[in-house]
Amino acid sequence: MGKEYTLWSMFWRRFRHHRLALVSLFILIFLSLSVIILPFVLPYDYAEINLKERFQPPSLSHPFGTDDLGRDQLVRVMYGGRISLAVGLIVALFSTLVGVVIGAIAGYFGGILDNILMRLTDFALIIPALVILMVAGSIVAGGVLEIILIISLLMWMYVARLIRGVFLSLKAKEFVEAARACGASHFRIIVKHLLPNAVAPIIVNITLAVGYAILIESALSFLGFGIQPPIPSWGNMLQRAQHTMILYPWLTWFPGAMIVLTVLTVNFLGDGLRDALEPTKVVEV
């Protein structure tokens, strides 16, 4: 217990050093809380149409204005935040999970299994992202789950390669040999001995993947394969408003600013985590 405590406090001390990351963390927490709470508190529904109040600029009753169907933009941005953040988080976790499993198996067992899995990874990397996005997008019409799957298809390969590399270099180390000599199962060795050594890159990867997934979702919306109406996401709100950017600018401000803010803070957070988790890579000044 004591040892863990010191590890944690060391991590925290280093993390605190990265002021941008610290601020980012607070912004993200604040953002997540408002996205969860506000849709319950606000007196509007994200799908409630009011054609008499279309395109209202920001006001006291509608702080973010109203959209092309007279819906309150604040509640839509918040609800869209739930979707966008959920897409970001789930994609990050899911694609990292797939990547870790494939990378771990390939790196640990090596040989023909490694060869097959790495060719599979090459295969996924070789197909242009646009083909995967559009073809998959046109085959399964965009529900939130489908979008998550499609974006994940684009992102697992990098983690897989990373983890394989880590495992390749670790499995020859003495402590693995020792564990094997003691009769530990492969599964146990992977989970108990190897994986903890790869925790840092995995966590950093998850963080960065959140931001990346949110951006891909917005690009997907631009290409016409995003999340279906009336469910809002920051990406599809921004895309639907861009052609009236000059007439009704507030419709792009808020979802756009949210995307920028989230991706930005998530990246700073990742940067800070990297510094804190991989101390060998940072020079303390």
Binding site: A129, L130, S138, I139, L238, Q242
Partner: protein, 322 residues
């Protein structure tokens, strides 16, 4: 080294075959090249049947794949179903335009990102470091289509109004009648170049920074310092050379994505490049065209990966290829 290269290339053959097969199958589900005709009240089912036969769409999937791959291996990439032109000819034509935009973006990113990375590393945790980090990440965080449209509005429209003449053009490759005017071309290149570079500046400068940081700590630099060499000399002569190696590798790995992944930029700025061609091909179920572009882009990925590895070994003699 030669044996290594050959082995790597041989390894990629099954991957290429698998990729071509999978994309070919997916394209059959993605769309129908005759979809538009089905919405034309004058077109009868007999017309559709006749056209399907003429275009070979009535044959089973495996037969079409066999035909395509056989032709492809022999150098015949087929004819684009929508443009009624040889696929290879179309790709070459568009690749030239893409290359222009890519080179400009590459150059712009390199010139900006590398010095930023170096300076950030040398003056770690300085104001400059923070500001550079912040802005490069800010650029990375913008949805690219939004950023492109904002640039158009501000640098294209409002700036033109303020100046009274057009400094940056909002879209396309050249003005009518000025197809071969270099200045005009640069004025058209500016906005898409900035948009496209945005995402890469952040990545490359961060990479340069951390790579530089690692090198600065290395022993031989301390030695160089101890020998009494000036700081700028140490940094530029010794540190930079070694720090650039991993950065070059990353750039190589980004290259294929730069070639194929510019569809949004090309779309917004009406740049007639390969990304838009691919986008159009997928939308119209033009699978000969899509297959051609996928194969080109696959070759590029394999080539640049290999190049990165070889380059790495070449620059860092500690790595030996078995």
């Amino acid at each position: 080294m030669f044996a290594y290269t050959v082995r790597r290339l041989l390894h990629s053959i099954p991957v290429l075959i698998l990729a071509s097969l999978v994309v070919f199958i997916l394209m059959q589900y993605a769309g129908d090249p005759l979809a538009r005709l089905r919405l034309n009240p004058h077109v009868t089912p007999q017309d559709i049947e006749r056209l399907e036969k003429e275009m070979g769409l009535d044959k089973p999937l495996w037969a079409r794949y066999a035909r395509w791959s056989g032709d492809f291996v022999r150098g015949d990439w087929g004819e684009s179903m929508s443009h009624h032109r040889p696929v290879l000819e179309l790709i070459v034509e568009r690749m030239k335009n893409t290359l222009q935009l890519m080179s400009a973006a590459l150059l712009f990113t390199f010139i900006l990102a590398i010095p930023i990375g170096i300076y950030s590393a040398v003056r770690q945790y300085s104001k400059f470091d923070y500001a550079a980090t912040f802005f490069s990440f800010l650029g990375f965080s913008m949805p690219i289509f939004w950023f492109g449209l904002i640039l158009q509005m501000i640098l294209g429209y409002y700036l033109t109004r303020a100046l009274g003449f057009q400094l940056f053009y909002t879209a396309s490759m050249y003005s009518v009648g000025k197809e071969y005017d270099l200045i005009n071309r640069l004025q058209h290149l500016a906005l898409p170049t900035i948009t496209l570079s945005l995402a890469y500046i952040a990545g490359w400068s961060r990479y340069q920074r951390s790579s530089m940081l690692e090198v600065i700590r290395a022993d031989y630099l301390r030695t160089a310092h101890a020998k009494g060499l000036s700081e700028s000399k140490v940094i530029l002569k010794h540190a930079l050379r070694n720090a650039l190696i991993p950065v070059i590798t990353v750039i190589m790995l980004d290259m294929p994505a730069l070639f194929g992944g510019a569809v949004i930029t090309e779309y917004i700025f009406a740049w007639p490049g390969i990304g838009r061609l691919l986008h159009y091909g997928i939308l119209n179920g033009d699978y000969f065209l899509v297959m051609g572009i996928v194969m080109v882009s696959a070759f590029l990925v394999i080539f640049f990966n290999l190049l990165a590895d070889i380059l790495y070994g070449f620059l860092d003699p500690r790595i030996a290829y078995k």
